[in-house]
């Protein structure tokens, strides 16, 4: 294997007669944003789930941080430093914004079974959490319930939770989904600055964002990667044009 942080080889998943992912080979290198694009139903989210450990692959190997993680469940993979966000915001609706992020912080601290100290009075959790919220621009929403903030803010909160995990790699499943042009632009800038912290595997439909951010792009069609390359290579690739970009234009 190369020095990739995350690498997939021959990863396959079949649902009945549907090949959701078909011998996918892919890697994520330090410092890069690797975009995974493809038409609806191509199997992008399924692939993210396989990497995150929510779905077991039928075949193939996933290496993360130099270790084969095939046998690890989603909890173990998260603890190893694989942070994912969800296509549809998956948060704790009754928790405040602050509590949502604190849960991730306390997971990272490794001390979940603490029964007596009030969590909201724990400076070692609250302070770094507030700093995180500051960073994604949610500090003034800290005390609001996650259910009560706007859609765009929930997307930001998803990012804040992922950041709080201090991951070695991000798996972002359509972070721009449902965001206005303004929000998308802001998030694009934010993700651009994030790659120095940890590489990002980015599933995204917003092509402006993808072309602006991606160091490499892989194109997934019917569960198969039909091309991987730089932005220019992908733009010039005839297969891709036919299978994907052409349909959109």
């Amino acid at each position: 294997m190369s020095d990739a942080i995350l690498s997939l080889s021959d990863v396959t998943k079949q649902f009945g007669s549907l090949l959701a992912s078909d011998s996918v080979t892919l890697d994520l290198r330090p410092g890069e944003i690797h975009a995974l694009i493809g038409p609806n139903g191509a199997g992008k989210s399924t692939l993210i789930k396989q990497i995150a450990g929510e779905i077991k692959s039928d075949r193939g190997d996933i290496h993360f941080n130099g270790q084969n993680i095939n046998a690890l469940d989603a909890v173990a993979r998260s603890r190893m430093g694989l942070a994912r966000t969800f296509q549809v915001s998956s948060l704790m609706p009754e928790f405040s914004v602050l509590q949502n992020v604190m849960l991730a912080r306390q997971s990272v601290s490794g001390k979940v079974f603490r029964f007596f100290k009030p969590v909201l009075g724990d400076k070692s959790l609250v302070d770094p959490t507030m700093a995180q919220l500051e960073r994604v621009g949610l500090a003034d929403r800290a005390q609001m319930r996650a259910a009560d903030i706007s859609h765009g803010e929930r997307r930001q909160l998803e990012m804040a939770v992922a950041l709080a995990l201090e991951p070695k790699a991000f798996l972002l499943d359509e972070p721009m989904a449902g965001m206005g042009p303004e929000g998308s632009k802001r998030l694009t800038g934010f993700l651009d600055g994030l790659r120095g912290q940890a590489p990002i595997l980015l599933v995204e439909h917003d092509m402006d964002a993808v072309f602006a951010l991606a160091d490499r792009i892989s194109v997934l069609v019917y569960g198969r990667i039909i091309a991987t390359g730089t932005v220019d290579e992908i733009r010039g690739n005839d297969d891709v044009k036919r299978a994907y970009l052409g349909e959109e234009a």
């Binding site: 948060l91 704790m92 609706p93 009754e94 849960l103 997971s107 001390k111 007596f116 909201l120």
Partner: protein, 328 residues
């Protein structure tokens, strides 16, 4: 400010629980004191269940098992002590006791072990399956108690003299009430501290969104299992007190009706509200004795009330009076 209103409601409930038996004492109405004691004990059983049902979102339909285990801990230990029969002689001697503190420790340990086994199996399921399997385990223990002749089987077991507590005449109704009220207060403070801790945050997170829990690297199962065990221990302690209140323990304490009743206290009073079980237990006992005395079918209005709460007031009595919470 809903938080302040909830604090006010809670204060009124707490003051009422203390004031009613004191007034009854002045009016020489020991039966009222016994009713208040029953409220405190039932509320404590509910506080235990509320931890998993309210904060953990786990609908355990088997908490009578733990209530009964607490009861039988009191009954069995006391009967051995009163009959001067050791529980076992070899390999080492274990004797019965009439000391509540020892009984409580036994109740806590036994209920924790049983809950650990039941929880480890049932918490692998969810939804209706969880409800049914917790029920099934409780029924197994119920039938075991019924068919175990050594401790009275179906007839139950009498405790001729209420067990003792250092410095207190436990046979004096108001003293025993005070003991139960203090135990309830301890259980509630413990529960309040617990739900504000890191563990409490994780437990409430696991209720709202297990997928998110997994994604942040916390396995919901372990959190739930620990909560289930703690919950069972609180309910078992209430069971031990209940056996002493009645000076009698029978398989009824283990029956699914009892599980349902404990659940009713929590739902009626307010699921996931600290004072919910107290409000629910108080309302239940009041209805039972106001309506039960004059009308055989007193449980009919109770059923209607429960239906209304479930349909229109998810926060139960406390929720209706204090309003919805801002956030957890």
């Amino acid at each position: 400010m809903t938080m302040n209103r909830e604090f006010l409601i809670n204060s009124i409930l707490a003051i009422a629980l203390i004031a009613v038996p004191l007034i009854a004492l002045g009016m020489d109405e020991p039966f009222i004191i016994t009713l208040a004691t029953k409220v405190a004990i039932f509320a404590m059983a509910g506080v235990g269940l509320n931890l998993v049902l309210g904060y953990g979102g786990l609908v355990s339909f088997g908490h009578a098992a733990f209530f009964g285990i607490g009861g039988y801990a009191a009954g069995i230990l006391a009967s051995h002590a009163l009959n001067y029969e050791p529980i076992m002689e070899s390999p080492f001697l274990i004797e019965g006791t009439t000391q509540m503190i020892v009984i409580w420790i036994v109740a806590l340990i036994v209920s924790a072990l049983v809950a650990l086994v039941i929880g480890a199996i049932t918490l692998r399921t969810s939804g209706v399956y969880f409800i049914m399997i917790t029920l099934a385990f409780a029924q197994m223990i119920y039938y075991f108690a019924i068919s175990w002749p050594a401790y009275g089987g179906e007839d139950g077991l009498s405790i001729y003299v209420r067990n003792g507590f250092p410095g207190i005449n436990t046979l004096d109704p108001i003293s025993f009430f005070a003991l139960c009220a203090v135990m309830l207060a301890i259980a509630m403070v413990f529960s309040a501290v617990l739900i504000r801790s890191r563990f409490g945050l994780a437990l409430q997170g696991a209720r709202q969104n297990p997928q998110r829990m997994t994604a942040v690297g916390i396995a919901p199962f372990r959190i739930r299992l620990v909560a289930f065990v703690i919950s069972a221990m609180i309910t078992a302690l209430a069971g031990a007190l209940y056996a002493d209140l009645n000076r009698f323990v029978s398989p009824t304490m283990l029956s699914w009706h009892m599980s349902g009743e404990i659940m009713v206290f929590v739902i009626l009073g307010g699921v996931g509200r600290l004072f919910g079980p107290l409000a629910g237990a108080a309302l239940y006992i009041i209805l039972e004795h106001l309506l039960g005395g004059v009308w055989e079918f007193w449980q009919l209005p109770l059923g209607v009330l429960l239906l209304l709460v479930v349909l229109f007031a998810r926060g139960g009595l406390v929720g209706v009076l204090a309003g919805e919470r801002k956030h957890v």
